[in-house]
């Protein structure tokens, strides 16, 4: 029997780890090359995870139940009448009924049905542009599920899938924190406002319950190692090596060479191209990679207080919940506008969590290289709308701009998804036309990070799909 196939995976973020596990399960000898001292990548910046996706968990040999309990969301309102949201259920945080609860429930159920119909497109190769074998099963399953929705729902999905979150909210919900929450989730991590066409898509990808992110990276890394992957921490990939025009291994920063028949990169397409060198890519491919939009707009902010911070109207019992400050659609859209001109919004929108005396936040929309003190100041200005005087109690504040995040993790532009999630960068066009089936350029090289289909968040799906494409190609 021939030797076992060797695979090198670049990056030990969620997608690198899932890809490695799937490759190991597929019979490969896998080395994961991680520049950082610990695995996890951008998971270290995240507060809440909806994943990994059950298919990715299966590759890792983990059970969905093992992820811990789902946590609720509290949509904060300057009036103090915060709204507690648990999946399709919504009520005021004080327990009283919310007038929009029934509409929220109807909309949530509808989005759940649509998400289920979309699911087959996400857990495999994106639909093919030509009728070819690889993408066909997913496409047919999608078509079938679409039909099973019934004519009415199917038409509605085809409409709202192309529509925008602001209109969806306006049609389905009263303006206020619930509508604001919907708008926030539609653009979280993106450089877009909810009025931009295509923003309903992220909502359909974000239907799973939320859990805390803590400890997840370590568990995923352990599971991946458990499947046989070897983690090589502390040295980055310096070059992807080729022999006879096919991928042959990876040269590390410290001079070590990792030989491999398959190289999977969880970095962005542009970063991968830089590691591979342009010689093996045609000019059109280089141009398309160069045109991928990946400018991060999410910042991480941590605020430390002497004691657990108090937000009027918020029961300390909800400190562990996801707090979202996006009081209306009308508040989310203008938070996006200034970033187009490189400015910070006066009142950014954000999600966060209180852990003891610390309030940790992901803040939108922040220009790529915004100064940290300005990010903190804008964050506090927004928080003061729900907790007047909070700013004065801050003992210590830290912030990471998208530029900081890019420097730390290597993520393109520090972008949450390694590349904007928009209809022209989705499915068959992700990361770019001609590269969506995870193979990139010369044989043996594949993409498996958030920049690839179907995009970011802690799902592990790009990793899983990338590994499957690579294994498929070796058959």
């Amino acid at each position: 029997m021939a030797e076992r196939l060797k695979a090198a995976v670049i990056g030990a973020g969620v997608n690198g780890l899932v890809a490695a596990a799937a490759l190991a399960r597929g019979g490969c000898e896998v080395t994961v090359i991680e520049r950082g001292a610990a695995p996890g990548g951008m998971m270290a910046l995240g507060l809440f995870a909806r994943g990994p996706h059950p298919a990715a968990l299966e590759a890792l040999g983990l059970k969905p139940g093992a992820l811990g309990p789902a946590i609720p969301t509290v949509a904060l309102c300057p009036s103090g009448r915060h709204v507690l949201v648990e999946g399709a259920e919504a009520r005021f945080a004080d327990g009283s009924a919310h007038p929009g609860a029934e509409r929220w429930r109807v909309l949530s159920r509808r989005l759940d049905r649509f998400a289920a119909a979309l699911a087959p497109l996400l857990t495999g190769a994106p639909p093919p542009m030509r009728l070819r074998a690889e993408g066909l099963p997913g496409l047919l399953r999608f078509a079938l599920r679409l039909r099973l929705l019934g004519a009415r729902d199917m038409r509605e999905l085809l409409r709202i899938g192309l529509s925008n979150a602001a209109d969806l909210a306006a049609d389905a919900l009263p303006e206020g924190p619930l509508a604001g929450l919907l708008a926030f989730d539609s653009v979280l991590g993106s450089r877009a406002g909810p009025m931009a066409p295509g923003t309903v898509v992220p909502l359909l990808l974000r239907r799973a319950p939320l859990r805390r992110m803590e400890g997840l990276a370590a568990r995923l890394a352990a599971a991946s190692e458990g499947k046989g992957a070897r983690l090589r921490l502390g040295a980055g990939a310096a070059r992807i090596l080729f022999e006879d025009d096919r991928a042959h291994g990876v040269l590390l920063d410290d001079g070590e060479r990792v030989e491999a028949d398959l190289v999977l990169s969880s970095l962005g397409a542009a970063q991968t191209l830089a590691l591979a060198g342009p010689a093996l890519f045609d000019i059109e491919a280089q141009r398309r990679i160069g045109a991928i939009r990946a400018q991060g707009a999410a910042a991480r902010v941590d605020l430390d207080f002497a004691a657990p911070p108090r937000l009027p109207g918020l029961d300390p019992a909800h400190h562990g919940a996801r707090l979202v400050l996006a009081p209306s659609v009308q508040a989310v859209e203008p938070a996006y506008d200034p970033v187009k001109y490189g400015r910070l919004p006066a009142l950014p929108v954000m999600e966060g969590r209180i852990d003891g005396a610390r309030l940790s936040l992901t803040v939108q929309c922040v220009p790529h290289d915004a100064p940290r003190d300005r990010i903190v100041a804008a964050t506090l200005a927004a928080l003061e709308t729900v907790a007047p005087g909070l700013g004065g109690e801050v003992r210590h504040a830290g912030a990471l701009s998208p530029a900081d995040i890019e420097a730390m993790t290597g993520a393109p532009g520090g972008h949450w998804h390694h590349g904007e999630i928009a209809l022209d960068q989705f499915l068959t066009l992700r990361p770019a036309n001609g590269m969506a089936r995870h193979a990139m350029g010369p044989p043996g090289l594949f993409l498996c990070g958030a920049g690839a289909h179907p995009g970011g968040d802690v799902t592990g799906l790009p990793g899983l799909n990338g590994a499957r494409a690579a294994l498929e190609a070796m058959r």
């Binding site: 542009m129 030509r130 009728l131 004519a151 009415r152 199917m154 038409r155 509605e156 085809l158 409409r159 709202i160 899938g161 192309l162 529509s163 925008n164 209109d167 049609d171 009025m195 931009a196 066409p197 295509g198 141009r287 045109a291 939009r293 859209e333 203008p334 506008d337 187009k340 001109y341 928009a422 209809l423 022209d424 068959t428 066009l429 036309n433 001609g434």
Partner: protein
């Protein structure tokens, strides 16, 4: 009271699409009456004399989208339509620089090279991409949109046609087509061209009439929609209808009358008559009833279904869907009678491109900022404008030596915000003067002395366009051209084929596929659907098939 007259078909609204549909139906042998609220037909395609000696194309002002198949079928040339192409355009900067667009390939290359040699190749790729996409989309304009949720053989057939055409593009181009349909015009241009002024010049077509910014996904398609014109075979070529846009409507009215159709102006439809669960005619303002088993509405979807059909005659979920249909006002129009020719000092002497579309927006971000104002309920502080001076090549538009400027302005909201409240009533004199000043300031900066030439001017805010033409919110396309409102989604998913849940009531205006512009496609498509429904296909059907 005189006895109620009856016809085979009544067209409610004499816009260019209503006239087109009416002409096709009359030619197929139906007795047709067009009832128009205004004192002239044409809707947003009219010419009026507001200052003696000057002809204003008050709303639409340039002609090219008009489907040549319709012009041929209805013999519009014989009915007096003459389109004079113009061959260029220009964008000026405050700093005295300009970019001139030429339809002549060589001249255009030289001009691009003058500003940015690296963009010559990029522009060539851009032009090729646009041309390919136009070739792909154009044949869809005169076909009905398939309903992907239907098993009807015709829907399956149209769906197959669409998929086959996509497939024929080849894998790479198919991806590019999808990208084109979903990208923003700004991102799309960024992929080809570097020079900000050239990009700004080209991006304008992506936002005209649209409540979206240059960086909003979907605006690349709007650009495509505006490039669909083909005068003399040149894609994206534009021209003037001699005598103003009213000439298009006059020719269509001529074709309608020649086929035996009748037109009544100053006849406003108040209600669509419903008898036994089907449309049965119209009731005019004043109470007159006119009977017909078929009513084709040229009004937009909201005006038709929410305004003119009695409650209960249409199902609730359909009405909800009509309410969700987005018709947003975002454009204004400034028409000006000038005592002499405006001068652009950046250009030495006479240049043919001055007879084309003139702009003064310098970058994509400037255009995007104009959109941000609109989102917040303000008219743009630095609006995008598209100015044409048709009198430079059409002497019928103004007295000798004098000129007429037709200035399309983007963006102006329908419900202007004031103190946090949005209300169309805020369009008072001060607001109008404010918008006019914002536009004239920009023009004056690139054409000093322009203000001094003004003899008479007319500003049409979205409310005015709504009031005068009946376009809801003043939306020039009778509904946003966003991709959730195109093809099978236009105007309402499941009802994209001009029909409505009320038997006998049809939609023939721009609210239907393929949307707005003086294209005559919606009217022609609707007529075909109606005739097919009546099994009266005949010759015109064959003509469509050949097209």
């Amino acid at each position: 009271m005189s006895q109620a007259r009856s016809y085979d078909a009544i067209i409610a609204g004499g816009g260019h699409n209503g006239l087109t549909a009416g002409a096709y139906l009359a030619r197929a042998g139906l007795s047709v009456l067009v009832v128009e609220r205004s004192d002239i037909v044409g809707g947003a395609a009219v010419s009026r004399e507001l200052e003696p000696g000057w002809t204003y194309s008050n709303c639409s002002y340039v002609c090219s989208l008009l489907r040549p198949e319709v012009a041929r079928d209805l013999d519009l040339a014989r009915h007096g339509l003459q389109v004079i192409p113009y061959t260029g355009g220009a964008s000026f900067t405050k700093g005295g620089e300009y970019f001139a667009y030429h339809h002549d390939q060589r001249a255009l290359e030289r001009e691009i090279a003058r500003l940015s040699p690296r963009d010559v190749e990029g522009y060539e790729r851009f032009a090729r991409a646009v041309t390919r996409q136009c070739r792909f989309v154009r044949p869809l304009l005169l076909r009905s949109a398939p309903d992907p949720a239907s098993f009807h053989p015709r829907d399956l057939g149209e769906l197959l046609f669409l998929l086959r055409r996509l497939h024929d593009l080849g894998e790479r181009e198919m991806g590019e087509a999808v990208r084109f349909w979903t990208a923003s015009v700004g991102d799309f241009l960024d992929g080809f061209i570097e020079h900000p002024l050239i990009k700004a010049h080209l991006a304008g077509s992506g936002i005209i009439g649209t409540g979206l910014g240059v960086y909003s996904p979907g605006t690349a398609y709007v650009l495509l929609h505006h490039y669909m014109g083909d005068l003399d075979g040149a894609i994206g070529a534009w021209g003037f209808a001699r005598g103003g846009m009213g000439a298009v409507s006059a020719a269509l009215a001529g074709a309608l009358r020649a086929a035996g159709g009748e037109i009544r102006v100053n006849a406003e439809v108040e209600r669509i008559l419903v008898k036994d669960g089907a449309a049965a005619g119209v009731v005019l303002k004043g109470g007159e009833e006119i009977r017909a088993p078929l009513v084709a509405s040229n009004m937009d979807a909201k005006r038709t279904f929410l305004g003119c059909v009695e409650p209960g005659a249409l199902p609730d979920d359909f009405l909800d869907a009509v309410r969700r249909f987005r018709i947003r006002g975002s454009s204004a129009k400034l028409n000006i009678a000038l005592d002499g020719p405006p001068v652009f000092p950046a250009v030495k002497g006479e240049a043919p491109f001055l007879s084309g579309d003139l702009h003064a927006s310098e970058s994509l971000l400037e255009l995007e900022a104009a959109y941000d104002d609109w989102k917040e309920g303000r008219f743009s502080a630095a609006p995008y404008f598209d100015m044409l001076i048709p009198s430079r090549i059409d002497p019928t538009m103004a007295p000798p030596g004098a000129h007429m400027a037709s200035i399309f302005v983007q963006y102006a909201p329908y419900d202007l915000a004031r103190d946090g409240v949005r209300d169309p009533a805020h369009w008072d004199e001060a607001a109008r003067e404010g918008l006019k000043a914002a536009v004239l300031d920009k023009i004056e900066a690139v054409s000093p002395g322009f203000r001094g030439l003004i003899r008479h001017s007319e500003l049409r805010a979205p409310v005015d366009i709504e009031r005068e033409v009946g376009l809801s919110e003043g939306n020039i396309f009778q509904g946003e051209l966003t991709f959730d409102q195109l093809l099978f989604n236009r105007p309402v998913p499941g009802w994209a084929r001009h029909r409505s849940p009320l038997p006998g009531l049809w939609l023939v205006g721009s609210s239907a596929h393929p949307g707005g512009g003086v294209m005559a496609a919606a009217g022609a498509n609707a007529a075909r659907e109606i005739l097919r429904d009546m099994k009266r296909g005949g010759r015109d059907e064959a003509a469509f098939r050949a097209a």
